[in-house]
Symmetry: D2
Subunit: 369 residues, 4 copies
């Protein structure tokens, strides 16, 4: 599809956990070619192999081994049509802002811009329609931008949950209430992240800021884009059909894969049956797939009939981590329906989402080489 | 308190996980003295040390080491004023029934008699008032019993949840809806129980029969005992204020201690505030304590102010496992209040409950030496 | 290479842990095609999907899903040029013997025939020369066999250790003493195998029969095949240069990948330096590779320079589990050299070894379609 | 025994892992009373409850809750007859030196002074005779000290191993060679210590500096104190019977308890049999016990006959963690005898050793109130 040859991309936060995942995925990508790696001044000017404490189960890709890591400054990335950011929140705001100001297209995993009213928060299997906000983001920037913008993806625990919810709203209309209890993998906290003393033989029933993120992000993602009479666009936060979300977030001794127990109440009465829910989930297709994003899962939601699935260790590799797994779909005694979702927090929950978002931006013509 | 000297007690299923716990606790009990141990025919006639595959972190108590294990037949236990049963469900029904028929007082951990309309399901920190059913159980037995009866305790995941709920209903009146997601320890499945291949780096979002047990047992425990015009007693299953319970049960790689995320809606409007809930839980006292049960916790519920507690590894030993810990009490966006409960499934969730139940029966005069 | 089209193969013990691994690997094999699956009478006559409790992280291969499982009787496998056995030791002896008697070529993972004086115990990256014993095995069988034989592979903990040892003996001559302490993964015990109650937050310093197996099997594998004056072949058990082996075997809470701390003393004085050892290991090539076995690792031993590698979670996928990783090569204060080996017990330690053994047998002309 | 009432003690590094353990043990000590707590300037002047991130399974002892933490300066500890140090190595050298210079008696867990030729490295169940060095340490100090001194205890992995070795040397004379492979608990690395990403489902075959420590410390501890013709004392490093030690150190996913596989060769020919070794270990008594140290284990070494013990999860609480457990005593094919040792690294491997060392110093009259 790329007549002009491979598209040059950069990675910010290249030595971190999400950065390593970006590099692994991009090294085998059909469209993209790694062009620049950015990290902290401590790592700058070192070959990537020296700078990184590599923690993946595959070797460092050859393309990256000898690349010299640079500081996260726009001048080192100006040839990159796409910049992926795995930066930590404490530096992401400033750096990503500077990159956008330098007219670069930034796909961020950090939380800093997620609540920005002009920045879409896109889960690529759910709301690529929110790309409609990009032109306003560019125009309202001072000075206005031609190519630069920021797109964020969601918190890893939000992503897993929101995909089946989108499928259900598509089939059955608005969801009214949602109770979700998560059991989240340690990799979601980065490296070194969680001390082993805190999680071996243990559960930690708290993740800082996580519940607030889930409760807020779902509204932005599942909501629409409204246009005022003056033509100003805004995210409607699911306002036409208010959605109440209550999240309880836990850390468990699992390496990869967030498991979530979800109970929902539909606006529609009577609500769909478990069997109808099962079918709606199994048949869910996404724009990412139909438009032809190479990193999109061929099948989005794996619906398990086995009574004890999905399980993170067995199911987190479904569709190379780009799909989600749902099981135990049954009636809830308090709301309508309950089920278990499993999503790979380091794939669809992080780097894979950013990459599909970039693929979508290219296919939609928002990024042009 | 025991003028007549120590009370002889027996343990059925003495070589199993719960049986080992009974023996550990009873060997240091101020009232009880181990008199007879029962196990399967395979173990019978062996010294306990030979018969058991001991898996506790303390040594086999001296009193038990050389006791000869017997078959689970009433004639071997006729001197026992109390018989504790840690039998598996596949044999518990028949054996416990035979023991009762032989006029023995049986305190069971098995599920077999929990749904029997004449058998109380007693969590000793919640519903000792259900002992009121014993006389009817004895009279309706054929032939009627003088001393024999069966009391069961609850499933380990039910026990942890129902204690704070009882405290809240005592302070604020009926609860109307309850959503609970459990993260249960592997010891709840006995030994060998869960294969390590199934739980290392994993969560299993299913425990056979567990959700049904929780949803049903809570109603029996939190409900009252009704008396018909004909004087017939029955468990009212919380019927005067119907309670809807929805449970999602998960197994996690934790050795001991069930963690549960609970959301509730009160009948009372407006509902109590988080701070009122905190105080009600912290101040909860039980009959077991005021009557002077030696195994009752001195303080029932530990209310944590730390934002990341309770945690199973750190909090499961609270009150030697006889108390429960509650934390993260906060508002729920969908129901009223949510919080996290931790209970030690092998202590208050199993053997300790049975022992306090027996202590209560003695203090109430239901068992007489 | 296969002019006659794909080679039909069967799997015995198809529903077990090793059997599932065989099926996964064989479903994508360039030469072999799954033709028959055998399991216990309990599973027989069921579709594989129904019979198996699938525990792999990939889905059941399509080729196997609807195959009807058969009893492990030779008549169901007579079209199979190769039969792979993942049978448990309690039944493997009888069944594998019957298959050989029916003139079938059996590649076994079980221990039953490993000590048979006519059965080679082949680690494919070490001693394919032991195929020289096959003709004698066939001739001495009663009645003599035309095509049938049994080849076993080694115990999983032996396999990892013996590969670097073979490399070192090839470069520096005989090893005289060997002390090895293993830290073995739970998957080595099959399913359900180790109870989670035994291994979470624990080490079990004992594996039944394992130390004896390691101490004996290494001698058979690293030794040669001697021929008497009468032309009778026998395994010499490293007798010309006696090798003393002392093994201490431990189970640790790791899912896949056996880590072994090895100390050795060479016969050669002075012994090679750590750097010479490093080079010898890194440069080791095998017949399996040069002959063109499709499942042989392209590179046999990965020598790590990082001071804290190999680690099972990060390195067990090296060469899809067909290679081994060695690190921390340094002087031993008591013997000569010490190092750490990591081998994937379910790949090169089990199914992959059998498959390469079969590939070798085909390339050497021992099996002809 | 203390006529003058309780002995005032201080704890340096009071908020750290070892400090928390000191406080837990000292709060229930029959002789000692907590008088001063020292920590970093960041924690100074805060109540202990506020300063500490408490990670023990018991609550913060009442005696410590409201104590105000001080900076680690001698003037705050001058009333303390004993100062226990759980300081990290990066600050321990300077602070402990300053405390000694202020004529305070310091019992250190840090490595800084272990190699000092005048500082004894005392494992209290092994070499209290090394207290003979204290007078020289005081005299050679500039200016000479009246009461101040430093005693260190050993690295946690050394301690477990050296106790059975001392028992064996006592019975059978010098050991000549020792190969030890450790499987060490995560708590040995402090908090936060090991990242969960590094150890879940994993083994790390490297602990920085650990092998060198074990190989060197054993010589100092098991060696004697020599006196030159000029009356100068020195540690002889086991020189009369040179001892070669080779250690391989691994981190495993275990919370507490270091497991070690040990092989030894005695100087004595023929060597003792496994049964003789078993008896020598079981009968080992120590000065700490006979002198009446209240924290000494009543029985030093638990010899296991079960074939699969000791195990860290089950045996680390033996004698409240003050004793060690040995099992699997058998012949080694390369050296003479091999066995498995388990020691609780946070008890006898750290705080408990320091406390018994202080008790010994009091009983020997080296510390006087």
């Amino acid at each position: 599809m790329q007549e002009g040859g491979p598209i040059k991309v950069g990675v910010l936060g290249a030595t971190g956990t999400v950065g390593q995942r970006f590099i692994t995925l991009l090294s085998a990508h059909p469209w993209f070619i790694l062009h620049a790696l950015g990290a902290s001044p401590r790592s700058a000017n070192k070959p990537y192999t020296t700078a990184v404490n590599w923690k993946q189960t595959t070797r460092i890709p050859h393309v990256a081994r000898d690349m010299v890591v640079k500081e996260c400054k726009p001048e080192h990335f100006k040839e990159c049509a796409v910049v992926f950011s795995g930066l930590d929140a404490d530096v992401a705001g400033e750096i990503e802002g500077a990159f956008r100001a330098a007219d670069l297209a930034v796909f961020s995993n950090a939380k800093n811009f997620r609540r920005d009213p002009n920045v879409p928060l896109i889960v690529p299997l759910v709301n690529p329609s929110h790309y409609a906000m990009i032109s306003q983001q560019q125009v309202q920037h001072s000075p206005p931008l031609k190519k630069g913008f920021i797109v964020t993806n969601a918190n890893c625990s939000t992503t897993g949950c929101v995909i089946p919810l989108a499928a259900l709203e598509k089939s059955f209309g608005p969801i009214e209430s949602l109770l979700v209890t998560t059991m989240q993998a340690i990799s979601g906290a980065g490296y070194p992240g969680i001390s082993s003393m805190d999680i071996l033989d243990n559960v930690v029933p708290y993740i800082s800021g996580e519940e607030e993120k889930m409760e807020w992000e779902m509204l932005k993602i599942l909501g629409g884009v409204a246009t005022s009479d003056e033509g100003v666009k805004s995210f409607d936060m699911h306002a036409r059909n208010p959605l109440r979300v209550s999240a309880s977030c836990n850390r468990v001794p699992v390496i990869d894969g967030h498991t979530e127990c979800v109970s929902i109440r539909f606006a529609k009465r009577p609500p769909p049956s478990p069997q109808q829910v099962r079918e709606a989930l199994a048949n869910f297709t996404t724009d990412a797939q139909t438009l032809g994003c190479p990193s999109a899962p061929r099948h989005t939601i794996s619906v398990h009939e086995e009574k004890d699935r999905p399980q993170p260790r067995l199911d987190r590799y479904y569709q190379d981590g780009a799909g989600v797994s749902v099981g135990r779909i049954r009636q809830c005694q308090v709301l309508d329906i309950k089920f278990v979702v499993l999503a790979n927090n380091v794939s669809i929950g992080a780097a894979t989402s950013s990459i599909i978002n970039a693929e979508l931006a290219i296919l939609k013509g928002i990024i042009t080489s």
